[in-house]
């Protein structure tokens, strides 16, 4: 039966259209050639929909959306006769320009729909499809139907996870990966047998929403490799798809999730809502700035951008519109991509109010755990922002935190700092002092991640070697790596030093995998991957960041050891306890006990270098 609300009422240069449906936001393909467009902008005075044939410099039509098509602050229009796969779209907004009031509309700019489900402009990694300063990130249309074959988020209990942090491109980009589709979602799929053998059951992906690989203040040579400059929060990174050019990034990413799930591996996404790729004062108009700056960004009274993220701008996360936007995004990833959880970058910004100050009960943080779609979704916070606000252990029950105390304490102890001992014991217990209300599974225990040294570099370098980075940062000299090079800086032929490094890697992984809480490690650490002493490889689209799979042979013993540790952890529920209760078992032993040089004799509050612990 045909719908009665899908017939045109207006026409412009042969393109037929009518008032659209206000909800849902974004562009929705309704049938073979009809598309509904809907976009929010409270403070604008006019909005035009701009349509391009994909690849064209100039639009083929620009439709001024009449006032009668606007309900509340939402413009919507339904357009007929579109070859939707080969269309790109954007919006042109007019409105006030008064930065002190938070407004900076510019009708000369065409900007990306914040709710676009696919974005063109960087289909090929680190390559511009359209010139700088032009309308370079364009919305594309997708069909959201996908044959999931019965899949859904896996629902593995948080306490049972072994998390593997990974960069999609870095994981298989190097020749040594041996895969066909290097540096892509499909490349990850090719490595599933390896991941399964290793035994991890969750991948935490570094950002894979559409992001910007160019630095605004630099020429086009350096690469912003990590992905923390988000352009859009509903679309997968097209440059991570083998056939991103053909508009297949959505299908390719869904396939990756489906295949990982089939093999018992959950998918957590590192999401970056604290700032966007538009940077701060004088930054480019890509999307939010041109759609409704005052809604999306925290501004200072003098008309400059607040910068709690240290990345130029700060998203106005507790503005009700932005709050809904964030919830919509996360619901979309969970319901349409079957994502199992999120790691929230600089999460305290979720807890800042519209004045930038920390809130007592931030509604966004509370809303997520009580959302109808998201209430089973794992939420992990990076609990510190660049302005010194920490929320570790302070978010509601059900949230987890990256635990930086575990990270530093374990490394310090491993290199021989006796004074780190007492804190290490508390960390191995699952940090009850930090997570008493919610339990050990709220502590994501890690030693190495994308930030800082790899495991091997932790035992091979005393100092950061970041000379090749795009620019200097405090990480170069001010960050405490808590590392020890075992007697030589970097690569060496010294047999004793290399032997010690292997033992140290095993020591560190042993303590990590036997700790209560949820262990996480950085991809490649299981075979001694190196970043050649770089502790901040954000701009290294080179072998420094890419995994060197040749080392898997070289460090086979470390790999086998880590594999067994993971299996051991999985085989012993007592390590994965979900509470801090430490009663005696049927043999009358405490479930975990701590010992000094003599069994049962241990002063855990004074510095020590020798201790034993027993799970029972």
């Amino acid at each position: 039966m045909e719908r009665v609300d899908q017939f045109p009422s207006h026409e412009l240069n042969g393109i037929k259209y009518r008032a659209g449906k206000t909800m849902p936001f974004g562009a929705t393909v309704l049938d073979d050639s009809t598309v509904n467009f809907s976009v929010y902008s409270k403070h604008s005075t006019r909005c035009n929909l701009v349509l391009y044939h994909a690849g064209d410099a100039k639009p083929f039509i620009e439709i001024p959306i009449p006032d009668e098509f606007r309900i509340g602050s939402v413009y919507s229009v339904m357009v007929f006769g579109l070859d939707w796969e080969n269309i790109e779209y954007g919006y042109r907004f007019d409105g006030p320009y008064d930065l002190k009031q938070g407004h900076c509309f510019d009708k000369t700019k065409i900007v990306l729909d914040p709710y676009a489900k696919l974005v063109s402009g960087r289909e090929e990694w680190h390559t511009r499809t359209y010139p700088k300063k032009s309308f370079q990130f364009r919305g594309r249309l997708i069909r959201d139907d996908y044959d999931w074959g019965g899949d859904k988020p896996l629902g593995t209990p948080m306490k049972d996870l072994v998390i593997y942090e990974m960069h999609v491109r870095g994981f298989t980009k190097d020749e040594s990966s041996g895969v066909k589709y290097k540096g892509t979602f499909a490349g990850v799929v090719e490595k599933i047998p390896y991941l399964k053998e290793l035994g991890i059951n969750c991948i935490e992906f570094m950002p894979l929403f559409e992001f910007e690989e160019f630095f605004p203040a630099l020429d086009d040579v350096p690469c912003s490799y990590w992905g923390y400059s988000t352009v859009n929060y509903f679309s997968p990174k097209t440059g991570y798809a083998a056939h991103g050019k053909n508009g297949l990034a959505v299908d390719e990413m869904k396939n990756m999730v489906k295949q990982l799930h089939k093999n018992g591996i959950e998918v957590i996404l590192d999401i970056v809502f604290n700032h966007t790729a538009e940077y701060g004062d004088g930054g480019e108009y890509l999307s939010f700035r041109g759609v409704d700056n005052k809604t999306y960004y925290l501004m200072n009274g003098d008309g400059t951008y607040s910068n709690y993220s240290a990345c130029g701008n700060t998203m106005n996360c507790n503005n009700p519109i932005v709050r809904n936007f964030i919830v919509d995004s996360l619901r979309y990833w969970v319901s349409e991509f079957h994502i199992d959880g999120f790691r929230i970058d600089e999460a305290p910004i979720f807890a800042r109010g519209q004045d930038g100050e920390p809130m007592v009960s931030p509604p966004l943080v509370e809303a997520l755990k009580n959302d109808p779609v998201l209430n089973d979704t794992k939420l992990i916070s990076e609990g510190w922002d660049a302005a010194g606000f920490s929320t570790i252990g302070k978010f509601p029950v059900g949230w987890a935190d990256w635990n930086p105390r575990m990270r530093d304490t374990l490394k310090r102890f491993a290199k021989g700092m006796a004074e780190a001992g007492p804190e290490l014991i508390t960390s191995l217990e699952g940090s009850p002092d930090m997570f008493w209300d919610s339990g050990p599974a709220s502590s994501v225990n890690y030693v190495n991640s994308h930030d800082g040294f790899t495991l091997y570099d932790t035992v091979a370098y005393n100092h950061a070697h970041n000379e090749g980075n795009a620019y200097t940062s405090p990480m170069d000299s001010e960050f405490d790596n808590c590392s020890w090079n075992c007697g030589a800086e970097g690569e060496t032929d010294d047999v004793a030093v290399n032997g010690l490094r292997r033992r140290q890697m095993k020591n560190i992984m042993t303590l990590l995998m036997l700790s209560r809480g949820v262990p996480m490690f950085w991809a490649g650490d299981e075979f001694g991957n190196t970043q050649y002493g770089n502790n901040n490889a954000f701009s290294q689209d080179t072998i420094i960041s890419w995994l060197d799979w040749n080392r898997l042979k070289e460090y086979q013993d470390v790999y086998e050891y880590v594999k067994r540790l993971i299996a051991f952890r999985k085989g012993h529920p007592v390590i994965r306890k979900e509470d801090y209760f430490n009663g005696h078992n049927s043999l009358d032993y405490p479930e975990v006990s701590w010992h000094g040089e003599r069994a049962w004799e241990f002063d855990r509050s004074s510095p020590f270098l020798t201790f034993g612990f027993m799970y029972s």
Binding site: D32, S33, D83, W84, E85, N86, I142, R143, D145, D147, G149, Y181, T184, F185, A186, A241, A242, H243, N246, G247, L248, V250, D251, E252, K254, N255, K258, Q259
Partner: protein
């Protein structure tokens, strides 16, 4: 553009596609196939001359496969390397029967 050639042999139908299967041609393919499937037990799609398949194209193949699952079988034959790659990276290779 898409050329569709059909060859029927009892309950077996072979459909050869030539050109591109995308948003503009997928509806045409869908209509053509809908008309011819009623008594077919074995459907063969010959893709040797299919140059390109888009996201919309993948979906009509899949919906055809779903129809055939209820009345017989469907195989996809002679796909070119580029088309095969698209099946592979999107996971459609696992759902379709490729020969």
């Amino acid at each position: 553009m898409l050329n569709i050639k059909k060859e029927s042999n009892g309950t077996e139908l072979t459909v050869a596609l030539e050109g591109r299967l995308d948003t503009t041609t997928a509806p045409e393919f869908e209509n053509e196939i809908k008309e011819s499937l009623s008594d077919v037990k074995e459907l063969v799609l010959d893709l040797s001359n299919l140059e390109y398949i888009s996201s919309a194209g993948l979906r009509v193949l899949l919906s055809t496969q779903k129809k055939m699952n209820t009345q017989g079988s469907m195989v996809v034959r002679n796909a070119r390397e580029e088309v095969k790659e698209i099946f592979e990276v999107t996971g459609f290779a696992d759902i379709l029967t490729l020969e």
